[in-house]
């Protein structure tokens, strides 16, 4: 019998605490698969955010550090500058990166820090109970926008992949999604590209991943996949926004 798929060994045996259908679970799994395939377990230092993935250090067999809210890129700057040959992976959600940590991510890109950034965009603050995020869509109902997010009062959604692609120090920026097998395969390819760039000594590379949040959105998991497709992708188009190796 040939193994077609087996749970990655870079993951521990415990159950994820994520909700059923959560995009974080899929993305965590993809990272673990790549670490397995490339044999990078001993090189990896995961930098986790405050958010639904705050306990992800419990799921991985890699060295992990959980940062203060928004500060993962600053913490990772210290780590990567201290250990330039390690694989330092910054993992953040939309509250952590786009709100609290907007300064840190922009400046890490400005300085061109040579680490990989995985940005999980689920258009909401999951962990704290479903409040609005800067990435929440216009009209989307959340616990702090119960009548629907209004551009006039709260602002329009912010496109991080495009924003960072405009900063010289960001050498690669792509947006993908995990709402279908095809998109999951594209996401794996993008994450792998980002990690490979780092191991080649290049960076900063940025992968934004549109992710379903069934609980936050009040939708059953399958319906949340549709929400990503029908509502998020039109506002957050998939694709590569910057690839300095190809762009010139």
């Amino acid at each position: 019998m040939q193994v077609v798929y087996k749970r990655p060994s870079a993951l521990q045996d415990n159950y994820f605490k994520y909700c059923g259908g959560c995009g974080h679970a899929i993305i965590n799994k993809l990272i673990a698969e790549i670490i397995d395939e490339k044999g990078w377990l001993g090189d990896t230092i995961m930098v986790w955010p405050i958010g639904c993935s705050v306990y992800a250090d419990q799921y991985f067999k890699t060295d992990s550090i959980c940062a203060l809210h928004g500060r993962a890129p600053a913490l990772a700057t210290g780590i990567k500058r201290a250990l330039p040959r390690n694989l330092v992976v910054v993992y953040q959600g939309d509250g952590d990166m786009v709100s609290e940590g907007m300064s840190e991510i922009i400046h890490s890109a400005i300085r061109g820090e040579k680490f990989s950034v995985i940005f999980v965009n689920n258009a909401i603050y999951g962990m704290t109970g479903g409040q609005m995020a800067p990435t929440t869509l216009e009209g989307q109902k959340t616990s702090t926008t119960p009548y629907g997010k209004s551009v006039a009062n709260e602002g329009a959604p912010v496109n991080m992949a495009e924003l960072l692609s405009n900063i010289t120090g960001c050498i690669y920026s792509e947006r993908v999604a995990v709402n279908s097998p095809r998109n999951i395969a594209m996401t794996k390819k993008a994450i792998k590209k980002s990690l490979e760039l780092q191991m080649e000594g290049k960076g900063m590379s940025f992968v934004e991943i549109l992710s379903p949040c069934p609980t936050g959105w009040g939708l059953k998991p399958l319906k949340s996949l549709d929400f990503v497709e029908d509502n998020m992708i039109p506002v957050y188009p998939l694709g590569v926004f910057k690839d300095t190796e190809v762009d010139h």
């Binding site: 040939q2 999951i184 399958l222």
Partner: protein
Amino acid sequence: MNIVKIEFDRCKECHYCMKFCPKKILVNGDKINKQGYYTPIITDMEECIACGTCARVCPEGAIEVMKDVVELRRQ
């Protein structure tokens, strides 16, 4: 025969495997697991083509897929 193994207690009943299985052989189960969810069951393992899609979409990593290579060679 290809084999799909679902770790019964790890499933959270998101139904992604059921939706994306190209052979439509995964259906909702009727036994509740330790976490309180109904783990899907396979209706007809003979129909499985070992594409691995169910395993790749499963957020929990609860599914293992094995391809029967011996059978392939016999063909």
